[in-house]
Point group: C2
Chain length 194, copies 2
């Protein structure tokens, strides 16, 4: 059985993702984790520290999957497609991670944003700039890399609008159509010389 601290962190991550930090009380977390609220203060100094530890725990576990992707498949196939597919799958299949990421982008203070940039975005961003540079473009690859990340994050954020506007929806369990759509925008932008 997993230890109590991890149980609390996983429970808190789920609740915070659904409703936000302010809307979830210590009592809510404790009840969902099957303990009393007072016991949370044995494991965490206060609510702020529990939030920070929850984010650190979740983000550290999720970014680890990028290392696997990079190390085990570094030699094969289409690097751009592999990167996009990894990021889309990560955000589409893990709604807790995706929603906490959005909450941090909206409400994180300077320190939390710096952590986020370092823990989550730095390696994908660097990887993408390398992919862009490898295409032989001479201009600064960084705006294009940030746009790629923005496109993927934006696609996930507007997903609930899909059925209301376009009349259909990407299947969360099948990220392929979204990957295809994103690649259809990135590839032409990449091959444009500027």
């Amino acid at each position: 059985m997993t230890d109590t601290r991890s149980l609390i962190l996983d429970t808190a991550a789920r609740l915070f993702a659904e409703q936000g930090y302010v809307a979830i009380s210590m009592r809510d977390v404790a009840r969902a984790a099957g303990m009393t609220q007072a016991n949370l203060y044995y494991h965490f100094r206060d609510k702020d520290q529990m939030i920070n530890d929850t984010l650190a725990h979740l983000f550290a576990s999720r970014i680890a999957s990028l290392d696997e992707v990079l190390e085990t498949h570094l030699a094969d196939g289409d690097e751009l497609e592999r990167f996009v597919r990894w990021m889309v799958k990560l955000l589409a299949e893990d709604i807790v991670f995706a929603r906490l990421l959005h909450r941090e982008l909206l409400d994180g203070d300077a320190g939390r944003l710096a952590n986020l940039a370092q823990a989550i975005f730095l390696r994908p961003f660097t990887l993408f700039t390398e992919i862009v540079s490898a295409q032989g473009r001479r201009s600064d690859p960084r705006p294009l890399a940030l746009s790629a990340i923005a496109l993927i994050i934006g696609q996930i954020l507007v997903l609930p609008l899909m059925p209301l506007l376009a009349g259909n929806a990407y299947d969360v369990n099948n990220p392929d159509p979204m990957v295809t759509q994103i690649l259809a925008m990135l590839r032409p932008a990449l091959s444009e010389q500027s």
Copy 2:
């Protein structure tokens, strides 16, 4: 002098955008608007109705600017660029609107999302599908239209990461670089025949 109800709605919009609905109390809104909390209940039944009215008031005023853009400039220039510039300026210059939009995409229930799709997104979405179709593409224009909106919204959301990753930042008061970057991604995708 503007009437009390509008003063409350504008004040609430600003505070809700900054910190979220749950974090802002009726006392906070009342204090910022220069009145007591009890008086808010003369103008609104409860907090929920104040939130809904705040969103309806803000979104109705902002989408009105699209009508101006469409009606006064329908004949000139580059329709795509005009549309992108309008949407980027709207989101970049009006941080209250942009943040409340993001909050609704994250936390809006089905009814609020339907209102959002209708009040804000339907006309830009339709406009963009028409622009795409006018380019002579034969495939469904809707995924591309949604991607364009996703790209613009995503760019605004990742703005705070810019100085942390790319080492510089778009100037909020000068949306041109972001418009240029977004057009650099949309134009090639548009001219690809599929």
